[in-house]
């Protein structure tokens, strides 16, 4: 397997960052998760500089950190990653010497791992926000939920299973907001009085399946989730699961009819407390910087400023919260205390609870792919069939329908695999092996007909949807290493796309930039279809894995 270089992940990061800057004013976001196992490059240690691996939603702290720099002389240099990916980075020791501190919405998952918790010297919560459900005002009215202050998870579940509530939620295997929501809803449905056990999760499974029939949008990051909500057809998505602070901030940029009312379910929430955490590997100078920075951030007036700026809640006694934050209390649902329970819950979500996916890969096997490029593609796609995946972050899921379309001057073949559920005969393993066998058999020759092949992918999906009459998360991944030089043009494709049914139009394309691909063509496809461009030029493994969060 090819090891990913820093350069590549840096480019991927840059791509993600660009997107985030664009959306920074509209959402906090869990941010662009970086590929694993490599991480964003960190600057080398420098006096007065604190290198922090952080959830990119902390981007909204920039003005406060600039003020902190003036007051304390400590400059924060962020590298962004997702909360759970970040936990892996710390646990595995890859953060040692590269970063001085980490700052994620929560260290819950990190602490479950003995290797991870032993890397942290101290954790200082800086601010807090519960994970909540933002419900569109019209939906709130239809459901008779008044101002939303008395809604329970049970009501949300009933509405979802009755088809009256559709919502977007970030992938719990990558995003703390998604994971927190999953824990909250599993706790509520199981009636667990204390921290979740495996038995609780089993007990809640039927209700959870019902609840997740309402999930219409998934995402590897909250930032893209908010964008997708904004562009979805009216009525398709009625609610968003995210931090209270993100939902309230998002409202500032949403049209009046899209405004979200923040529902903190009465039967309990899981909150993020944003612990700024010092790594044991940090040198003395950086420890001093850390101490100065945390002391500054906890000052009463700074806490008030943070709350007003970010709409998160202050943690310093006596500091006033932003006036728009409601003060009625909610039960805080405990986070699982064991990694077995946490990982088991994630595996259940991916393989059993959520709506299954229909995933179409449109793979360029033109002549220019021969050699290293094709080998990289085989490795990257082959990884998605492997068993080494504790957080269920990568592997093709049980019940997923995977179509491989190999193309050059025209479509060479399209082959569909349905991954069976665990517990059935023969079970998922044989089908995963069959996908891998198809991947390893790919061969390269011919020209590059990107648009025609993409049109074929939509036709395949249309046939599959018509035949199965089912309701799946459906998306297309397009991997190409060159410019389209045969078949339909971009203009043809645009026209083709405009004429698609609304169900088809809702299918996003996630193009992967690779080799000598034309970035502008691929960005155009992502924009046209509501997808997102991923950079695979440095790390194709990373791009394929990151996209799993969106499928």
């Amino acid at each position: 397997m090819k090891h990913r270089g820093w350069k590549g992940s840096g480019q991927l990061l840059a791509a993600g960052l660009t997107l985030l800057l664009v959306t920074a004013c509209t959402s906090g976001g869990d941010g662009p998760p970086s590929p694993r196992p490599s991480d964003p490059p960190a600057p080398t240690a420098k006096a007065g500089v604190l290198r922090i691996l952080a959830g990119s939603e902390l981007q909204d702290m920039a003005p406060v950190l600039e003020e902190a720099r003036k007051a304390t002389g400590v400059t924060v240099q962020f590298s962004w990653t997702g909360s759970l990916d970040g936990a892996d980075t710390v646990s595995s020791g890859r953060a040692d010497g590269k970063y001085d501190a980490v700052w994620f919405p929560s260290n819950h998952y990190l602490r479950l791992d003995d290797g991870g918790r032993s890397k942290l010297l101290s954790e200082t919560p800086v601010m807090a926000s519960p994970v909540a459900v933002g419900v569109r005002a019209s939906v709130l009215g239809e459901l008779g939920w008044g101002d939303g202050s008395k809604v329970t998870w049970a009501q949300l579940g009933d509405a979802a299973s009755a088809g009256k509530l559709s919502y977007g939620m970030a992938d719990p295997s990558r995003s703390n907001s998604g994971f927190s929501a999953l824990v909250a809803v599993a706790s509520a449905f199981s009636g667990a009085g204390s921290a979740l056990t495996e038995a609780d999760v089993r007990k809640a499974t039927p209700s959870l399946k019902q609840f997740f029939t309402g999930q219409k949008l998934t995402s590897g990051s909250s930032g893209w989730l908010a964008q997708a909500y904004g562009r979805a057809e009216p009525g398709r998505v009625g609610a968003l699961v995210n931090y209270e602070s993100v939902l309230l901030s998002l409202n500032k940029s949403l049209a009046p009819e899209q405004q979200l009312t923040v529902v903190r379910p009465l039967d309990g929430v899981v909150s993020a407390d944003y612990p700024l955490s010092l790594l044991g590997s940090a040198a003395q100078g950086e420890r001093d910087s850390f101490k100065r920075l945390t002391s500054y951030l906890l000052k009463e007036d700074v806490q008030r400023r943070i709350s007003e700026l970010t709409l998160r809640r202050p943690v310093t006694p006596g500091a006033a919260a932003a006036p728009s934050l409601p003060s009625d209390r909610r039960r805080e649902l405990p986070f699982p205390g064991s990694k077995v329970v946490a990982d088991g819950l994630l595996a259940s979500y991916q393989n059993e609870l959520r709506r299954p996916s229909r995933t179409v890969y449109v793979l360029d096997t033109s002549g220019s792919m021969a050699g290293d490029r094709l080998a990289a593609l085989k490795a990257a796609l082959g990884r998605l069939t492997g068993a080494d995946d504790t957080r269920s972050v990568r592997r093709f899921r049980d019940r997923e329908e995977v179509t491989l379309i190999s193309f050059a001057s025209k479509v060479k073949y399209a082959k569909t695999h349905a991954v069976p559920a665990t517990g059935t005969q023969p079970g998922p393993q044989a089908e995963l092996a069959a996908i891998n066998a198809d991947v390893q058999a790919l061969s390269a020759d011919g020209g590059t007909a990107v648009y025609s092949s993409l049109e074929e992918a939509y036709r395949v999906i249309e046939r599959q949807q018509a035949a199965a009459a089912d309701d799946r998360f459906t998306s297309i991944v397009l991997m190409t290493d060159g410019e389209s030089n045969e078949g339909a043009t971009d203009g043809d494709f645009r026209k083709f796309h405009q004429e698609l049914s609304s169900a088809q139009k809702a299918v996003p394309v996630f193009p992967i930039l690779f080799g000598d691909a034309a970035k502008s063509q691929l960005q155009g496809i992502a924009d046209q279809t509501g997808g997102k461009l991923f950079d695979g030029t440095g790390s194709l493994d990373g791009a394929f894995e990151e996209i799993r969060g969106y499928q």
Partner: protein, 362 residues
């Protein structure tokens, strides 16, 4: 290697202490002050950062550098490079002394009992159900530990308690949120109290006692799920208005706010009727470290400042009472004995390690 790790775990267990790569005492040529460096728990951070504390120490010829940690285990141990360590319990201090082969008796400048924090309406619900009571004369709240232990063992839920239905946030099992006993002193002291109660009000001193108490310790730990690593964190959660309704904390954390006049909303401080005190005990390894220890115990100005941070100076029982005098929101118990609070003895650090392992299912 494994043994060394075990020793380290034992050291850190009670201490709320970790340590860092620290320089031994330096003489500062500029002002002649001696710089001493050591490790403290997060609950003493604000005290050592106070300008008045810094000024008084400087007047006495000391400049103190502290490393604040939530007592995480570290990969590398350099105990012999620090001037002092200032854990939150005497057992941890004893273990440190053994590790460093220090002969001098450790110094215990101040202490603070464990308390339970709740919002006013929650305290009222506890009172209605025999889990707490308020002395009408002193307005000091007491938390009934035996009744609490029975409630935990019976799997009592908030929604089964009288008066809880008016508070939708009160649902789920009744339990206290603590820090992780494997890394933080307050969490470990909580296990000490519960084991004492479960062991028929006898301190657990042997494996048989551990066996007799382990089930309930395991229950109160697994109920909590993920536990935070330092006493600062559950306290902050409580203050920001979320977290579990019942949080174990040091009295000093609440008293510091009261003395400063910081508004604490409807926070109530409940004193467990059987409690245990956190003995902030300082182990001086160098001349400078020993000097600091003695100053913290003997210097009148520093004792006054300690009380200002909610601690109870050992040698000056009136200091705390003076500091919290007239504070009624929340109300403190200036004299623990007068409030009829019983002190549970803390098991040896060896037994406490066994209790912690049992609680964590190890």
């Amino acid at each position: 290697m494994k043994r060394a790790f075990g020793v380290l775990a034992a050291l850190l267990l009670l201490g709320g202490v970790a340590y860092a790569l620290l320089k031994p005492s330096d003489s500062d040529p500029a002002d002649g002050a001696v710089t001493v460096t050591g490790v403290i728990g997060s609950e003493k951070r604000a005290f050592f950062q106070d300008p008045d504390v810094i000024a008084e120490l400087a007047k006495q010829g000391l400049k103190v550098n502290t490393e604040t940690t939530g007592s995480w285990l570290m990969g590398e141990v350099k105990l012999n490079t620090m001037d002092f360590a200032f854990p939150a319990s005497i057992s941890a201090a004893e273990a440190l002394r053994n590790q460093l082969t220090i002969k001098d008796a450790p110094v215990r400048p101040f202490y603070s009992p464990l308390v339970i924090l709740a919002h006013g309406p929650v305290a009222e619900v506890l009172a209605q159900n025999g889990l707490a009571s308020m002395d009408p004369a002193t307005r000091v709240w007491t938390f009934k530990m035996d009744a609490y232990l029975d409630a935990v063992k019976a799997g009592r839920k908030w929604q089964e308690l009288k008066g809880a239905d008016a508070h939708p946030e009160l649902s789920g099992s009744v339990y206290l949120t603590t820090t992780d006993p494997a890394s933080s002193s307050s969490g470990a002291l909580y296990l000490a109290v519960l084991s004492y109660l479960q062991n028929n009000h006898q301190v657990v001193s042997d494996p048989a006692g551990v066996a007799a108490t382990k089930d309930v310790l395991r229950t109160v730990t697994t109920m909590q799920g993920d536990q935070k690593s330092s006493s600062d964190e559950p306290f902050k959660d409580f203050v920001s208005g979320f977290g579990n309704p019942l949080v174990l904390a040091y009295e000093s954390q609440a008293a510091e706010l009261a003395v400063k006049g910081t508004p604490t909303g409807d926070m109530v401080v409940l004193y467990p009727d059987t409690t245990v005190s956190s003995d902030h005990t300082i182990v001086g390894r160098t001349e400078g470290g020993r000097k600091l220890a003695n100053l913290l115990r003997d210097n009148a100005r520093l004792r006054e400042l300690e009380a200002r941070y909610g601690f109870r100076p050992q040698a000056d029982p009136a200091a705390f009472a003076t500091a919290v005098k007239g504070r009624t929101n929340p109300t403190f118990a200036p004299d623990l004995a007068a409030a009829k609070l019983k002190q549970a003895p803390v098991p040896s650090s060896e037994v406490l390690t066994m209790l912690t392992d049992a609680a964590k299912g190890k």
